[in-house]
């Protein structure tokens, strides 16, 4: 059974804003019956056509797809189109208190539908990643034939969510989750994205949500700090993150080493520099 948060369950059992808006200004559709989930999003704008005053959805899909759609409609109400476009799939997941990683594709679908609706309203071409098999104008080369996903779309999601494994890409987009034939190509795309961008953002993002902060802490530990320790035959494990408090345990050569106090400070310094100034690190036995 999936470990859904109470908020996911609540939005699944009592979804907000189900239905259609007959005189909607913008309608975005993604997914298909074949894919196993689909979302049709309706947006109604104020008379000045600036702010979203109403949003409704129709969704075919699992509990987290329905909850993500419900969350999305709540999040966009009152926002300008420009503000709405800045909603990321991570924020949809965070609104629900998080989604199991295998279900992150539901949050991506929400974000896709929103982009599709706004692009259509503005008379732009359907976004490249609209993977509705029947109507999509797709940009790029189709990588995942089972779900009709292109390299342009996959690279965007890989970069936005800092994905590092093919399994994660499947969880976030479903690509590779059917026949699995495209997994080697997905690995190439990950390598291309990682090669194109520094693995950790060079400067701290301005506003960090809790989820992003935890992700960044994990990434920084994985990519910046553990490799330094490995060089000395040591290692560390992340035990817990609570707000700005990070607990780690040292392994191998580092464990019980007299100089590990220095190492804790090094970890803290690095996390403050790359993630957030309010981070404190403490060593625990794990």
């Amino acid at each position: 059974m999936w470990d859904y948060t109470d908020k996911v369950k609540e939005h699944f059992l009592n979804p907000r804003n189900v239905g259609a808006i007959d005189d909607a200004d913008a309608v975005g559709e993604v997914g298909s019956l074949a894919c196993g989930d689909a979302l049709k999003l309706y947006l109604k704008l104020d008379p000045n056509k600036e702010r979203i005053v109403d949003a409704k959805f129709q969704t075919f899909g699992c509990a987290s797809a329905i909850a993500s759609s419900s969350a999305l409609t709540e999040m966009v109400k009152g926002k300008t189109l420009e503000e709405a476009l800045h909603i990321s799939n991570q924020e949809i997941a965070e609104f629900l208190g998080g989604l199991p990683e295998e279900k992150m594709h539901c949050s991506v679908m929400g974000q896709e539908a929103l982009e599709a609706a706004i692009a259509k309203y503005r008379g732009e071409e359907a976004p490249a990643h609209d993977h509705d098999h029947e109507h999509a104008v797709m940009e790029g080369e189709v990588v995942c034939k089972c779900f009709g996903l292109t390299d342009v779309f996959l690279k965007k999601v890989i970069a936005a969510n800092k994905l590092t494994t093919a399994e994660q890409v499947t969880h976030f987009t479903k690509a590779g989750g059917g026949c699995g034939g495209c997994i080697p190509r997905i690995k190439e795309l990950i390598a291309e994205v990682m090669g194109a961008e520094p693995q950790v953002a060079p400067k701290r993002p301005e506003k960090l949500t809790n989820l992003r902060k935890m992700q960044l802490i994990q990434e920084t530990l994985e990519k910046e700090i553990r490799p330094l320790l490995w060089a000395d035959g040591g290692d560390l494990e992340l035990i817990d993150i609570d707000g700005g408090k990070v607990q780690v345990a040292f392994r191998k050569a580092c464990a019980g080493c007299a100089s590990s106090g220095f190492t804790v400070r090094t970890v803290e310094q690095k996390l403050r520099e790359l993630v957030s100034a309010d981070i404190t690190v403490e060593e625990v036995e794990g």
């Binding site: 019956l33 074949a34 196993g36 689909a38 129709q58 329905i66 295998e102 089972c146």
Partner: protein, 391 residues
């Protein structure tokens, strides 16, 4: 909330009598059956009795029964043995609708150079025996085809298959995990060489299975290292569970008629009422012979996980023929092989009953499911015109 458990093809409640039978073999009669002393010897006698009881249910002889840890182990042992005893034969035949215990192993063997034929099924989930006839040859080491399908309950014509397999001298294995206890079996008059069964599908605990191995059929053990099970499965016997399996098999024999009359009547009523009350519902495998306890229904334009979770809110425990639950994103390989259209493959639900289910429980499912489907369809962007026309 009291659960209404209709997921018996996933696992079953341990029968009270089964539990009572196994209970003393943990803290009191914990001896090792291989020991020389009386304390182990008395356990050996109960293990022998269990072997007789399992054999009796299958119409086999007790020394044809090898206890294993699960159905999956029995499947692995059978297929791996066959390719070892026939090293010159490089061909395996199975079907597209097998349990992963068989299918994954065969696909792994294909990567190691074996030629693997996966037989197709038709829309009702049935094999084309001509296809089998054309596929089996002198290079075929083993044909492994399930007795009854876990998702749809569709029963394969096992004896007809066996006759075809025997013509070319290949071994015939059947995964009968879902069939044992529901379909009367008589190995003495059968062409089956090896048969897998699992305890927890027939009211014994999880973690115990058995492999029937016909006398005279060559065998290479999967686990080596001890003399147990006449050198055919090394490892200290799981005595309490073996004794439980024996009791469960004895009870299965007693309840076989109930399964095929009362339980079948419950299933048939559930099927009739749900298909009458819910438009655009189809029975997966409806045109074939099926297990008496299984009903797989496909609902168009809705997704299985959402149905299951809403049913779960009402205490109803069923299972999805679809993807999301198992972690794979494709709809069930069984339904895909049957050509069930995408419009309903994602929305398939399996109800699998047991002797513990009651009329009142079936009434409750008949009452609770239609509004769940209606509610999800109202939420779905698909099929609106279609459904409006049929209402």
């Amino acid at each position: 909330m009291k659960e209404i458990y209709v997921d018996n093809n996933a696992t079953t409640r341990v029968d009270d009598a089964v539990f009572a039978e196994m209970r003393p073999y943990f803290c009191e009669l914990y001896g090792n059956p291989s020991s020389m002393h009386f304390f182990g010897g008395q356990v050996q006698k109960k293990v022998d009795e269990a072997r007789k009881r399992v054999a009796a249910l299958l119409g086999a002889s007790p020394d044809e029964i090898i206890f294993t840890a699960c159905g999956t182990e029995s499947d692995n042992a059978a297929i791996r043995s066959a390719i070892e005893v026939f090293p010159e034969r490089k061909h395996i035949i199975t079907s597209r609708v097998e349990h992963p215990a068989v299918l994954t192993l065969c696909r792994n063997l294909a990567k190691r150079g074996y030629r693997v034929t996966e037989l197709n099924v038709d829309g009702a989930g049935q094999l084309d025996l001509q296809e089998l006839k054309a596929a089996v040859d002198e290079d075929t080491a083993i044909v492994s085809l399930m007795y009854a399908n876990n998702e749809t309950g569709v029963v394969f014509p096992i004896e007809e298959i066996g006759a075809i397999v025997k013509e070319k001298g290949a071994l015939f294995h059947t995964d009968a995990v879902q069939a044992v206890g529901k379909i009367p079996l008589n190995m003495a008059a059968s062409s089956i060489d090896m048969l897998s069964l699992s305890g927890h599908k027939l009211h014994a605990p999880k973690g115990i299975g058995a492999l029937y191995l016909r006398k005279g059929v060559p065998f290479r053990p999967f686990l080596v290292g001890g003399h147990q099970e006449k050198n055919r499965r090394a490892g200290t016997e799981n005595t309490a569970s073996i004794i439980a399996l024996g009791k469960a098999c004895e009870l299965a024999g007693t309840f076989m008629d109930d399964e095929n009359c009362r339980v079948k009547a419950l299933r048939d009523r559930l099927e009739k009422e749900l298909t009458a009350r819910i438009p655009h519902a189809r029975i997966n495998g409806g045109g074939a012979e099926r297990l008496p306890n299984t009903l797989s229904l496909a609902f168009e334009f809705v997704e299985g996980e959402a149905i299951l979770l809403l049913l779960s809110e009402k205490g109803i425990c069923a299972s999805s023929g679809s993807a999301c639950t198992s972690g794979s994103l494709e709809p069930s390989h069984v339904l895909r092989a049957m050509g069930v259209p995408f419009t309903c493959a994602h929305g398939s639900i399996r109800f699998s009953l047991s002797r513990y289910n009651t009329d009142a429980e079936i009434d409750l499912i008949i009452r609770e499911l239609p509004p769940v489907i209606k509610r999800l369809r109202e939420m779905s962007p698909f099929g609106r015109e279609f459904l409006a026309a049929s209402n």
